[in-house]
Symmetry: C2
Subunit: 203 residues, 2 copies
């Protein structure tokens, strides 16, 4: 089971969303029939020709391991994206519980975001310790990203979802996942461009 | 050159961010020395042990092909994420020019988002045609995502950056790239969990 976890996790980290039983078998040294049998035991069924949704398989493995508890999360940076994140009902459904929202701006501190009072950075550490928070979401400007990451990590956070368009340096053992809208839009433009759909118009 | 483009594009679509000269050589039937020589000609240098940043190589290829013009973009859905997108200076720098912002809500239409007047959906088609827009960003609720995508495509958009947590159906030739915050947070949680960092705390 941990072999599956590692392999699926690696593929997910590489950005892969789906995997076929054949590709998984080749990686793990098993036949694709065996893979399909094992994953069916975990409750996962692939789609013919499309394979398995990696996130779904990992979720089922997590449930089987009794790890479907909720995860406390802090959000730092209550600009537009921070507000979107705090008001995003899907997080709660998926087991992420936002236990604190923070901002550096005194004009924002004390206001509400999706029903939660925005707190000052001075309270960050206490909240992380009190709720035993391991995950932080950072929607702060580029210039303060590393500093905020350092504060989160110093207080005990070991996983950061980073929305700043800047690479964060973190000690070993700390995981960083980045969301960069420009990279996504670039990716889209290339797909369109290669499909030949810019040929006749936008020159 | 188009061989490189296709191969790099495919890897990018698979979510890969970096590639080594060896892996690229294996895919293209060339030695890694040849790959390094070719990519150096395009102006791209890999980092030893880390390989090439795929987006960077593609950008250089694009410049070489004279394709570094700006791309007009429309944004539909001016909630928190839509506001973040329209005020995001990085897009302009990277050659994306937001030529229109739209919302379905009469209370939002006519207000401003980052200096741009939000227009009604009735004006969407005219704007797309006028500016020959090929790219659309959709930050709308799940329930209206497919309908908005259909409207964009009908008016001539061939690439959609979708922020709704819903899979969009599109005809062949139309590219969709999705950004899903919950998937990113799940991915982070799995990385942390597999690193063993939930072991001693959050049970």
């Amino acid at each position: 089971m941990s072999l599956y976890l590692r392999e699926l996790q690696t593929r997910l980290e590489d950005g892969q969303e789906r995997v076929s039983s054949r590709a998984l078998g080749a990686s793990l040294g098993l036949t694709d029939a065996q893979i399909r049998k094992d994953l069916a035991l975990f409750g996962s069924l692939g789609q013919p020709g499309r394979g398995y949704q990696i996130i779904d398989v990992l979720k089922r493995l997590r449930q089987m391991m009794g790890r479907d508890q909720s995860w406390p999360v802090v959000v730092v940076g209550i600009g537009n994206i921070g507000r979107a994140i705090t008001s995003y009902g899907q997080f709660k459904t998926e087991g992420f519980d936002i236990v604190g929202v923070f901002d550096i701006d005194p004009k924002v501190v004390g206001t509400k975001s999706a029903g939660r009072v925005v707190r000052s950075m001075a309270d960050l550490r206490a909240t992380i310790v009190e709720h035993d928070v391991r995950l932080g979401v950072m929607t702060v400007p580029k210039a303060s990203a590393q500093d905020v990451a350092d504060q989160l990590i110093a207080a005990g956070v070991v996983g950061i979802l980073n929305f700043a368009p800047k690479r964060i340096t973190a000690p070993p053992g700390v995981s960083i996942v980045s969301v960069d809208f420009t990279v996504s839009l670039e990716q889209l433009a290339f797909q369109v461009w290669l499909a030949g759909n810019f040929e006749d118009g936008t020159k």
